[in-house]
Symmetry: C2
Subunit: 777 residues, 2 copies
């Protein structure tokens, strides 16, 4: 897959020389591991909760990885306290041409971010290991954060929370998610390389991820691993902390598969290591590169690393009890006494229990400077790997103006911030305002509109990457490809579409991985009913506020014959319940286009609920969208007046005085209510018809807007129609709000038959209104 | 694993002889396959939608399986039209002792159900294959159902819907679910065998399941397959329809793993077959038994069956277009002309297009009797396998009174209906009414109460099977085991606990598989936040109304330091939105016990949302539960008065007149409101405190009950507190209903700190009420 072998091979030579330095630092490395372990024990103990087991088992790997393998920019550039780490190497002032100097100075952060490796702690409960590493290696974590693990106001929550500035690459904890995010990050690097086709200096940075038995057993990790193997992501290195213990006991209670064989079957290269043995880690990391040169091309890598949970403890070692509870003072003292820290922290004959007690009582943990000298803290061999990449970059820029031009294009299209460029947003807004479904004025489904708007979007945003869980023929979410190939493959990462396979959960989690870098904008799609398969990852997108668009088609029983297993009922409101997630259910051409526009103009996740079926023309091509700018303003309120009955339509005051009923719907039901309105009008009622494409935005519009819209003070009855389960709390609705939702499972039949059967046709809705709300005049 | 080798070996000999009969029936079998294909084409065409691709590719396998492999009771016993299928063999009248005759006559249906094999069409979109098979083999499907595929009022919905009387073993469509259900069914058979330890006549019946690429790629199928391999379920036979096509194109777009190697890694025995070749199927099915005898012990079986999607079509064959759309009349005519049906249906020189057109126009499809003679329709070799089991049973009963006694016990504890036995329910009710948390009057968490009630339940219901996704140490859902071992294993299916591993999705789906037989009552548990991983399977439990109890602990931000990734927010109401699912959120000891009681007294799925944290004593041990019977009556209303302020507590009329505010909460927030009530009372307000453990039951209680409870007509303000996201539709709440929910993500800190931070402490809630609802007197 890699077309840039040269740089990779050069780097391999360098990495070997770095890995050979380990021999001289074995004692320091052991001490670093024990320091990380000790901090974890103290942190968890002081918090009164947490997970010391993994940090103790994986501390050696952690220290090894950060010190010898993880290519990172110098710490000083991040304004960290340790400072002074060879920063001069990155200062091109006076050493490069004016053009190169200017270019680098303008893009330094983006370039750093482009070239650096990433480490994802998929087993998020081991957060103290990550915090300890980031503190010891001067990457955005302070000792106070460690001392105040799991407390409000510190950077050390129970599970890692996305904070890229401080090298917390993603939020983890729900098992399997971080691993799938890492797959997305590895894809991102390959897609970037494909967008610099003639640039031999660039090759994909590595993504390391640490996962435990939990991540391994989750279905989402299987899905992601299968796709990673298919795509041959050789820059992905997964390290499996195989400690043979899970919460309920030894893993052989329930997990006896041959993991190595399974990963080989999925196209992975598999390595073994002893996580408690420096020489073994050294050997394995050397092999990673050897194999990469010789025969490992196009295979993601799995290191099966044997460890012992709670390593270094007396009674808890190798037991499930070490996993998720404080170890207790006696165990901590035992650990300290037998650790490589003893000569330092117990110097002068101090007793371990007393020292531990003092650390706990003061809430002051030993600082890194107490344990390591300046040399150790101020140098990090792995940074040389990064420097190598940097130098190749600088030299390429010097040699070739074309390289600089290409890179400038890449950075403008695919840099953090490219997703929110004002210029692009304005261009897209213009396109959306000019857009109208090309063909004759015949109403369509909203999924069809979506497919057209998507093409517009991809024109302006080449970083839009669309994918589907094997339903693109139905969701219509394929971006036109400039490349011959339609989908990315191990040979070609140029296309802007990903065939995720029937792997909804991994699709959403890999989408998160793509979105984390903020260079690509992922759009993932399936049927709304299968959003259930994706919820854990959708939730994390919302929690991290990642710009991912979830497109869900076939959004109600109106999909028809596929029946109750495919007809969403609870899904619309179940999505609305997720904090910080926008849920758009557009009713027509304009609203669908506006939903896309809103998504691209903001930095948050959104979901789009679209119809399978064609909608009614009256609503689909409504005159109220003639002025698109005004209409978009209304749309952004979340709900707005589509129509007023004649006689009050031009006077707000009189409308309020006269309106008999406010009808409200989202999506396809707006078509129904539009017909109902006519029936009511024919009986002399004055009706306000409200479209409500986005409840979240309506909330933001505030109470006075809502009250004016629904004529609350005038106590005008409000009738709300939506083919979706409504909150069970409807029992609180008062006498002038009426809801017709759908609180049952669907059936298999033609949509038109179901509409009558479920009383969602205009005649039945009219009858319902006349029975429950109004009295015939 | 099997301790009953003898019967299995005898059966193997029989199966071989049956499989050798295939040679004489090859032409008939081909005709059967083509008949199934033709019916599928016609059915989908007439419906205007559906999936002909799989039925065409797998029709030969289907016919082969039903005719030669699937052990089923004679069709006549199901009162089907074909009738007369060797029924006399099962009639023991006059051939057995009076005791045996009486026993069999009393239990015939249950015994049939115990001994029969099952076929699960996991790839549910191929429903027409299943319907065609059940029609051709006289198993509960009529020609009219086939002719009216996907229409209201027929037994042929778009995807199969659970209907065990008609041999639709489970609802499928959402991919991967049926496969996991089949794993549950295979476990069930092994658990039944373990409960008949001395009964050599019984050995587990087979569960066959057909899955496609979709099921294969889904994470849930990996989870279930990994556990199946771990448990060595040799009675499970999965047939993988490997047609190399999925909806978006050829599977090599995205799915290139070595499936055989992966399944071997998980402990499966793997076979290969050509699904278009009778001899190959024959050979493979012979191997299934050979290997079972020689070396396949303790391995589930996977047949990788190469097929061609849309087999028999001209242009659509081997294309994704054959998957999910009508083939069109021309293709159907081409199929017919080249099929083994041609000599029959086109006899006398009829033209295929004209015949197809006639079938379509009349809506009358060719009946099985037109295509097959009576001999074929009235005999089914596979029934001999069933007869073999039956005869072993009868003979064992004759020989050993102990066998009969043991079987009687088994049937009383583990027969369909045992889950709803009145006697047991009454015994359990008595236990629950007598139950009180054993230790001192110190308030506990509701998960702790649950763990005690669970022991009571398992005493009365030995068919209660508890399992957790590696969180039993936290969810406390372990049933005390009579066996030495705590969890089932490949060596021992006696225990009543299943260690599901960190496989939430498969856990719920396997739970469904267990519940489908109605012999066992599965209880599955994890943290509430991870209910997201299980939703597709929870939805199917609700759709099928399966008696599974989902226990979710750590039910709000009150779980504390694990932080937002572990703190549920949207989950409580997202569960309430699922139709036909009860959601209990008990507030104390009594309500937790009552929730269990309610679950065992009804035949529907329920979820139980429990606290991690200890609750306040005032609510935990409330005097209103002194009369448990009365209290349970209140509980069953879904919401009820826990307390009234003094001065109106004994007079309903005066309460209505005087009450200043109604406070309502579920679960842990009831403790908070109880404190708030005191504060309000100290300022002279009269307060009604309502506990609302189950919104669904409150709905059922009807409007007049609700209005009386909430004093709606008196327009008393109602204040509702719940640490969960409330519906976004709250904007409709009128001026005298006030909701304090939790519409954001949580944070990592101690529960007590979060309670204040999020303004959920009594002082903050009191302030909120005084600001928004009441005015200080």
């Amino acid at each position: 897959m890699s077309n840039n072998l040269e740089g990779n091979e050069e780097e391999a030579v360098l990495v070997k020389s770095i890995l050979l330095q380990v021999d001289a630092e074995k004692a320091l490395l052991s001490r670093a591991a024990d320091y990380l372990g000790y901090l974890s024990l103290l942190g968890v103990e002081r918090a009164g909760s947490g997970h010391p087991g993994l940090p103790l088992g994986c501390s050696l790997l952690g220290a090894f990885l950060y010190r010898y393998a993880l290519a990172t920019p110098p710490a000083k550039s991040r304004n960290l306290s340790a400072g002074g780490l060879e920063e001069q190497a990155f200062n091109v002032k006076g050493k490069a041409s004016k053009e190169v100097e200017a270019f680098i100075s303008a893009h330094q952060e983006a370039l750093y971010d482009l070239l650096r490796d990433r480490f994802v702690l998929s087993a998020g409960h081991g957060s103290m290991l990550l915090y300890g590493l980031n503190y010891l290696f001067s990457r955005g974590m302070k000792l106070q954060d460690i001392e105040n693990f799991r407390q409000l106001g510190y950077k050390s929550p129970g599970h890692p929370e996305y904070n890229p500035k401080d090298f917390i690459e993603t939020t983890t904890g729900p098992l399997g998610q971080g691993f799938a995010n890492a797959v997305g990050m590895a894809i991102e690097q390959n897609m970037l390389m494909a967008r610099l086709p003639a640039q031999k200096w660039f090759y994909p940075a590595s993504v390391f991820t640490l996962l435990g038995d939990g991540c391994m057993m989750e279905g989402v990790s299987y899905e992601a691993a299968s796709l990673a193997g298919h795509l041959g992501l050789e820059n992905l290195v997964a390290i499996y902390d195989s400690n043979s213990i899970s919460i309920d006991g030894r893993t052989n209670l329930t997990f006896t598969e041959n993991v190595a064989q399974r990963f080989k079957a999925m196209g992975w290269q598999v390595y073994f290591a002893n996580g408690r043995d420096i020489a073994s880690l050294q050997e394995t990391f050397l092999q990673l590169r050897v194999v990469a040169e010789e025969k490992g091309m196009g295979r993601p890598k799995l290191i099966i690393m044997k460890t012992v949970i709670g390593e270094g403890l007396l009674n808890l070692r190798d037991t499930a009890k070490a996993h998720g509870s404080p170890a207790g003072l006696a165990e901590i003292a035992y650990f300290l006494k037998n650790s490589a820290l003893a000569p330092i922290l117990l110097s002068g004959g101090a007793e371990a229990p007393a020292v531990v007690e003092k650390h706990m009582k003061d809430g002051k943990f030993p600082a890194r400077e107490e344990v390591f000298n300046e040399d150790f803290l101020k140098t990090c061999p792995a940074e040389k790997i990064f420097k190598h990449r940097w130098q190749r970059l600088v030299s390429a820029l010097e040699k070739s103006p074309q390289a600089m031009a290409d890179l400038a294009t890449l950075l403008s299209e695919y840099s953090p911030g490219a997703t929110s460029s004002q210029e692009k947003q304005q261009a897209f807004r213009k396109d959306i305002f000019a857009y109208s479904l090309g063909h004759a004025r015949k109403a369509e489904s909203t999924r069809k509109v979506s497919s057209e708007v998507l093409q517009l979007a991809s024109k302006t945003f080449p970083n839009l990457i669309a994918g589907s869980a094997d339903l693109v023929a139905s969701t219509l979410t394929k971006v036109a490809s400039k490349d011959e190939a339609m989908y990315i493959s191990r040979e070609n990462f140029q296309p802007a579409n990903i065939a995720f396979g029937i792997r909804e959960h991994a699709m959403a989690a890999i989408g998160n991985g793509l979105a984390l870098g903020a260079r690509f904008i992922p759009l993932t799609s399936t049927f709304l009913v299968f959003s259930d398969y994706m919820r854990p990852a959708i939730r994390l997108a919302a929690l991290m506020q990642l710009k991912q668009l979830f497109v869900f088609t076939h959004d109600s029983f109106f999909l028809g014959e596929d029946g109750p297993t495919h007809q969403p009922v609870e899904h619309c409101n179940a999505l609305r319940l997720i904090p910080n997630l926008l849920v758009f259910r557009p009713a027509n051409e304009a609203e669908t286009a506006f939903a896309y526009l809103y998504f691209f103009e903001h930095e948050e996740p959104a979901s789009l609920l679209l119809t399978r079926q064609k909608l009614g023309e009256a609503v689909f091509w409504h005159s109220c969208y003639a002025n698109r700018e005004l209409a978009y303003e209304s749309f952004q309120k979340g709900a707005y007046i589509l129509e007023e009955s004649k006689g009050n339509e031009n006077s707000e005051a009189s409308a309020e005085a006269k309106t008999d009923i406010v009808l409200v719907a989202s999506g396809s039901e707006l078509t129904v209510l539009s017909e109902v309105k006519k029936r009511l009008e024919s009986h002399g009622f004055l009706v306000r018809l409200v479209s409500m494409p986005c409840v979240e935005l309506l909330h933001k519009s505030g109470e006075s807007y809502q009250q004016a819209l629904f004529l609350t003070e005038q106590r005008v009855p409000v009738y709300f129609l939506e083919a979706a389960a409504q909150s069970q709390l409807n029992l609180f609705y008062k006498d002038n709000v009426f809801v017709k939702g759908f609180q049952r499972f669907g059936e298999s039949a033609k949509a038109i038959a179901l509409q009558k059967h479920f009383l969602f046709d205009a005649a039945s809705v009219y009858d319902d209104i006349m029975n429950r709300v109004l009295v015939l005049r």
